[in-house]
């Protein structure tokens, strides 16, 4: 028996119901089938894809425009305007969590 099957067996051996929450990245139908074969509840979860969070994340990764990458002060000043994007992402996550995100968009 290979590694993940053995781990699933470890959950089964505790002799009570314990859900297995599998991070979606990298799993396939065989992995899911093996997890389900334990008769334990199985979730496959992943970080959600949201257009607003994606846009904010992409902007943060790109950094501020016009910065000199060799000058730390220049980078800090260029990134200042991006700091609110962290807050925006947090607000968006909270909206999603409470279900208040449907049909709403932010204007940047």
């Amino acid at each position: 028996m290979s590694y993940w099957n053995t781990i699933f067996d470890g959950v089964k051996r505790c002799r009570r119901t314990v859900e297995m929450d599998l991070h979606a990245k990298g799993i396939d139908e065989i992995m899911i089938a093996n997890a389900l074969a334990t008769s334990m509840p199985v979730n496959v979860s992943e970080v959600i894809s949201d257009p607003i969070i994606k846009e904010a994340t992409d902007a943060l990764k790109a950094g501020g425009a016009g910065a000199d990458p060799k000058d730390v002060h220049s980078v800090v000043n260029a990134d200042k305007e991006l700091l609110s994007l962290h807050e925006l992402s947090t607000h968006r996550l909270f909206q999603i969590l409470i279900g208040a995100h449907r049909g709403r968009t932010y204007s940047l």
Partner: protein, 295 residues
């Protein structure tokens, strides 16, 4: 639910209100305000109908309203289930503690009837740094306040995750709790241990995990244990204080299985295990074969 009732009693007491818990409405004096906490029932539905309020027919729903029972005014806080009732009581706690006019905090002019938008509302907290994360992990008072706050804000799951600080074992510098099991327990039949980790500290870690998971469940939430790193062999370097010894490729899987079983048996409040199963977990992708169980 009982914790939410205690919170409400404490919040009211802190504002100078005298509180007493009664079993029956007749025990409440005429000049006192009865606050009735109730689960779903036919009588409750009828009482709510008098106030033109409907408790949503969904798990974890709540309703709060002023109405009359047996000819006297009452404040009714009810839930479709224990969690819903807990949320109703916590809503009153919030109003008492943070309302602009605390004397009016329990005057519910507009009835409230709410249901969750999402069935799972979870917060994940990660342990990734020995320096920064050990203090809060071991702070019992912090956990009581933190978990109470999550429950009051209607989260229904808490996920404590370990081993997410690294996507690769090549450049590990802080390995505390990275490969979780030997930081929590010894497994009979194996001689696996963590270098530089005193046995009492290891045992205390498991005790803390049990405490945190039990305190989570006591507040009506589910506890998920997140195990993100399954590799055990990281290069020795001057920054790494903890290495795993006694484990081989041959014993790796069976040790993890037995260790996981032991943790789940030792911490019965854990109701979910989160697993990272792709290559960043330290185990090569495709490490499985189709499995069949006989039931």
């Amino acid at each position: 639910m009982s914790m939410a009732a205690q919170e409400l009693e404490q919040a009211l007491t802190e504002t100078g209100v005298k509180v007493c818990q009664c079993e029956r409405l007749e025990q409440v004096k005429d000049d006192e305000l009865p606050i009735i906490g109730s689960g779903a029932s036919a009588q409750l539905t009828a009482t709510l109908a008098q106030a033109a309020v409907t408790l949503p027919n969904a798990p974890e729903s709540l309703a709060i309203c002023e109405t009359r029972m047996f000819g006297r005014p009452v404040l009714l806080a009810c839930g479709a289930d224990p969690r819903g009732l807990s949320y109703a009581l916590c809503e009153l706690v919030d109003r008492v503690r943070f309302g602009a006019d605390r004397s009016a905090a329990l005057q519910i002019r507009q009835p409230l009837a709410e249901r969750p938008a999402n069935p799972v509302r979870s917060v994940m907290r990660q342990f990734t740094s020995e320096l920064f994360d050990k203090p809060w992990f071991n702070d019992r008072e912090q956990w009581i306040q933190y978990l109470s706050m999550l429950a009051a804000q209607r989260f229904n799951r808490f996920d404590l995750a370990f081993g997410l600080g690294y996507d690769s074992l090549n450049q590990v510098t802080d390995s505390y709790f990275l490969f979780l099991y030997p930081f929590l327990l010894t497994v009979p039949g194996y001689h696996v241990h963590t270098t530089n980790l005193p046995d009492p500290e290891r045992d205390h870690n498991l005790e803390m995990l049990r405490f945190i998971s039990e305190q989570t469940v006591a507040r009506g939430m589910e506890f998920q244990l997140g195990i993100w790193m399954h590799g055990y062999n990281w290069p020795k370097n001057p920054h790494v204080q903890y290495l795993i010894e006694g484990l081989t490729r041959e014993t790796h899987a069976s040790y993890c299985r037995d260790a996981l079983t032991a943790i789940l048996r030792g911490c019965p409040a854990i109701s979910s295990v989160g697993l990272r199963t792709h290559g960043e977990s330290g185990v090569a992708e495709g490490s499985y074969e189709l499995l069949e169980y006989d039931f």
